[in-house]
Subunit: 348 residues, 4 copies
């Protein structure tokens, strides 16, 4: 439930509210919206409902009303946090990445880091074209144990080199609790891939560190399950989460997955978190990346994550779905033209 404080409430009144919540074994979460201050009453122990009584709270001075939270996710939902979360990353002397609250951020780069040369060349092209962050996998989750599994820590070092070179923030995936600390040293944003959307120990681990997290939708997850996965991260203390729609598995056979763009306005209605779209993995087809990127922006997305590679046909992973740097630059031009009509500001 949410405690809505009266306008002009006294600091001591808020403290009393918090004290009551804590006393009854719940966690208070304070949220400041434009015209109101809200206090969420959150269960502290999984499986045990807190004992805070709405009547006791509503009779406290300074409290305007008590509002129930109907959805199973509390921290990532709009009711407790009506305003958009804006994820903003400013690497030193670098390119500012922003997503949410009207800002449109573009993360681009290869599926996998293959060499320092490849990642630095791509990063330069991404920056030149107006991209605002660099992606590249160092730990790669692969369907087969015989496939290339990424360059691991060497790959992280190459990403860091590309960041030094271009000022672009670095987004990279973690597969395992044990990789979180190491990766957080090198990268700005930790990505949780689709296969790990319900890997709860991993969600908790990225929730206990402070870098923003990019959480990809599971390939068969409902939006409620997706938001509950984000809730796992937020529940551990990290509110900086970017949701990424990347297509769901259906019977359709012309694309790798079915990109479900209606998830953008639905997620934005239910949650304050920014929502970006990955048109590359979802479609698996280079020629669909541009129209699906435009469609995502027009539907209100807060950004994109695009696979771009200097030489797609030589890519070690997912060659058929990456676009080359020229196509990426053309798409960026396209999106900049579309942005005003779509009500979006370019991230930087």
């Amino acid at each position: 439930m949410i405690v809505v404080m009266k306008r002009g409430f006294q600091r001591a009144e808020l403290e009393d509210v918090i004290a009551l919540i804590e006393e009854k074994g719940a966690r208070p979460m304070i949220s400041h919206a434009e015209h109101s201050t809200l206090v969420g009453v959150i269960d502290k122990t999984p499986g045990e409902k807190h004992g805070v009584s709405p009547d006791a709270l509503s009779s406290l001075p300074g409290v305007e009303k008590i509002v129930p939270i109907e959805e199973p996710y509390k921290l990532v939902g709009r009711p407790l946090h009506p305003e958009d979360t804006v994820i903003c990353i400013e690497p030193e002397n670098g390119v500012r990445f922003q997503a949410g609250g009207g800002y449109f951020g573009v993360i681009a780069g290869p599926c996998a880091v293959e060499s320092e040369e490849q990642i630095v060349e791509t990063a330069r092209a991404v920056r030149l074209a107006g991209g605002t962050a660099l992606r590249g996998g160092a730990f790669k989750p692969r369907t087969s144990p015989y496939s290339f599994q990424g360059l691991k820590e060497e790959g992280l070092k190459m990403l860091a080199a590309a960041r030094r070179e271009t000022g672009l923030a670095v987004v990279t995936e973690v597969l395992c609790v044990n990789q979180v600390d190491l990766t957080a040293e090198y990268a700005d944003v930790l990505q949780i891939g689709s296969r790990n959307m319900q890997n709860y120990p991993l969600l908790e681990a990225v929730g206990r560190q402070s870098n923003p997290v990019l959480l990809k939708r599971g390939l068969c997850s409902t939006l409620s399950e997706f938001l509950l996965a984000a809730e796992y991260i937020a529940y551990q203390g990290n509110p900086n989460i970017i949701l990424c729609e990347r297509g769901v598995r259906t019977f359709e056979d012309d694309t790798r997955f079915t990109l479900s763009l209606s998830s953008i306005p639905i997620l934005q209605k239910k949650s304050h978190l920014p929502v970006i779209v990955d048109p590359s993995h979802s479609t698996g087809c280079d020629y669909l990346i541009a129209p699906m990127s435009r469609a995502a922006m027009a539907a209100g997305a807060d950004g994109l994550m695009i696979e771009a590679h200097p030489h797609p046909s030589q890519s070690r992973v997912d060659a058929e779905q990456a676009i080359d740097c020229g196509a990426f630059a053309a798409l960026m031009d396209d999106l900049r033209r579309l942005a005003p009509a779509a009500g979006k500001r370019w991230s930087e």
Copy 2:
């Protein structure tokens, strides 16, 4: 297979090509593209491959080359008809509807015709807001035999009255071979609904008359099946077909269906037919209609089919997914602003 004629071929040479094709028991289909004339060699009898030899054809004078058609659909595919089909309807003294070739047509109206007053009021609002055709069901396919099944011929007369009043072309559904002639008297475009996408006798019946056909994708059909359904219509002689993406059935539970917008560029790559989108039936949610309409345009759609109702809450059918006339007008404004950046001309 396709016979590509040489530039500057002689008329008699083309006639020889046609004669050879007919002699061997196949159907020649002539297609004039910007810089070339093509002759498709089409099987005449279902289940029997024609006996036309590519070698015999390629040795004829005036023939440049023979190109195989790899897809199972021939007439609706791009190879035989490289240029966009533009569906253009010009009711006398009325509003020109165009879809395809850069034109963006908007069909709007209620799910079901309920009264002359309702349909005329809606038609006026649609016209005022810039819509270019009117939709409304007179024969309604309903999941339950106990649900309202439409006003039938009375409904058709009301649609015709709305057309007289506003000049808008009328789009309405047929459910059965026996309704085709009657409906074609009153309506400009015959709609085949999702449930009937593979009702082959019905496809053949609308293929044997001359009104344009709006073919909705089956709720679980692949794009190849969708184009083969269109091929049934074209094979009977009617080339004026509008394809309509309306969502597919998946596990997603926030929307009625999953709107698959990547089908737009895929269908446009494979086929010359215009592709429009129905954001109303696909999502089943009024608040998703605007963002999905914008996304469809940005993805390259040739038009939209939108449920608008003067008083959605009083609608006898699908109340929750219609928008009112004010919301429709606001959406039209939005789309007009977006059109230049999306490379679309307004239909009229």
Copy 3:
């Protein structure tokens, strides 16, 4: 709603109940169960709720109580008809086909009738192996207009010849309202295929004639939609309906469709109609037919519809999913062994 009559009610009391129902514009449907007589109150006019008041009915003499029907289907649901419907066909001097109420009926034969020789040879093998009805398509719904569309009336005559020869009841598909009367002259059971499960005019047409109807589940239909399609048939007066599970479309790529065997007990719980399974079209793989047939029986199915062909590799349609007559006979032996443990009696 359902009127439950008291034990030992008077005939005149039942007549009063019926009179009241009819007077208020509804249709009474009488159903005799083992220990009770039930009268369903059914809407007469689609889209208009009847005006029968439960209070008025419950105050009539002879009435024990009024029970609401919660599901949208009324006539095919268990509440109004608690006992199993048994479909029983006895061709003159022929093989009795039974499905429902513990009887297990096996329909087998080729996908399409190709020649009299082929269908008679198959029918003999089916009969010899213990099959109780013959299937074969004369009107074939095909995804492509260029595929073989069946032998039409000639095919129906061949099926009739096979029936004369073997005494097996004949099951064949109708695609169109206009084929219903002709087909009913030749065949014992009219099949509605998956693509036509929601072709309402066709459902109404087979509902207005008296041959049993085999209704296949739409490839993406929910069980509620499936039962409502059966309700369309029953609403027109034909209560003899066999439901056929034939797989649903999913992302699975090892089989043509995903055979969903849990539909058997669910449909049997909700409806009194017999439920059979088509392991051939659902899997599309010959080696899966035997295990899926056994599984269907063990799950409680009332029968099977199997594709068998004397020479599968020469079949004009669906060659890869038919089994030959030897494999069919072996499967029948297998099923006869399994029947007692599965609580099923062989149909004949």
Copy 4:
């Protein structure tokens, strides 16, 4: 590729084959089938194809022929290991659990361990009814962070107590690499749940220890992806893997998931690993457990995993899908009657 040794080959010849494989940087995997000895040539380093030449191998003495492996999984596929793997667990003085090779093993118990009393009571009922292993979750993956997450190590101790009491082998889930060693101390079989089917570090961790692994199919995974997940485990050295079909996510809304029983014969054709079925999580409905269990056995499954709880309605997790101990015993009787006709031996 697979090296097939000649009958009566010399030990030294086999050693030469192995030496050549190792010399060229690949891993030899020896497999003894009834009439032949096979040596698989397996890539050693992910992403790098080994350099072993088939010609070099086939020219060695004692080698009959070289057979390619066409599927992406090598170790879990039938070609390299034609005979069924039988998983056999014999707790000291306990109940022998067997699955595969004609044996049918039944694992039953509550979703979550709730108390020592609950788990011991259930274990006794499972043993009495003829079940051959006990399941119970100590670490529970839950969609919401606010749900009960299991009793963790305390739960493991309770499972061990139930094993001491009844002699039943214990199956329990691990969620994280860090839980593997601890859990392996207490449990006989480590379960990988659906959500973790592609958690590759976890698969590798259970592959590096020696307890059998029960791998549940991901809720949206293809069978190829499922077998590749098993390959991850086998590739680390643990060949004792039980595959568990537990339903896939589709549009069906009467059940929690769609149980796809055709996966049983398909997996058994492609792989030598035993395949069991979970009718509880897949359907989510108590009344479907018995018919789906019978169907699974009739389709050839090697066992079942069933949720049974002494008092389902008081269960803290998944109450609606568990059956009570009486229903479980009745089902066991049913299955024992069915087993001979289904060609299965009871596990013990």
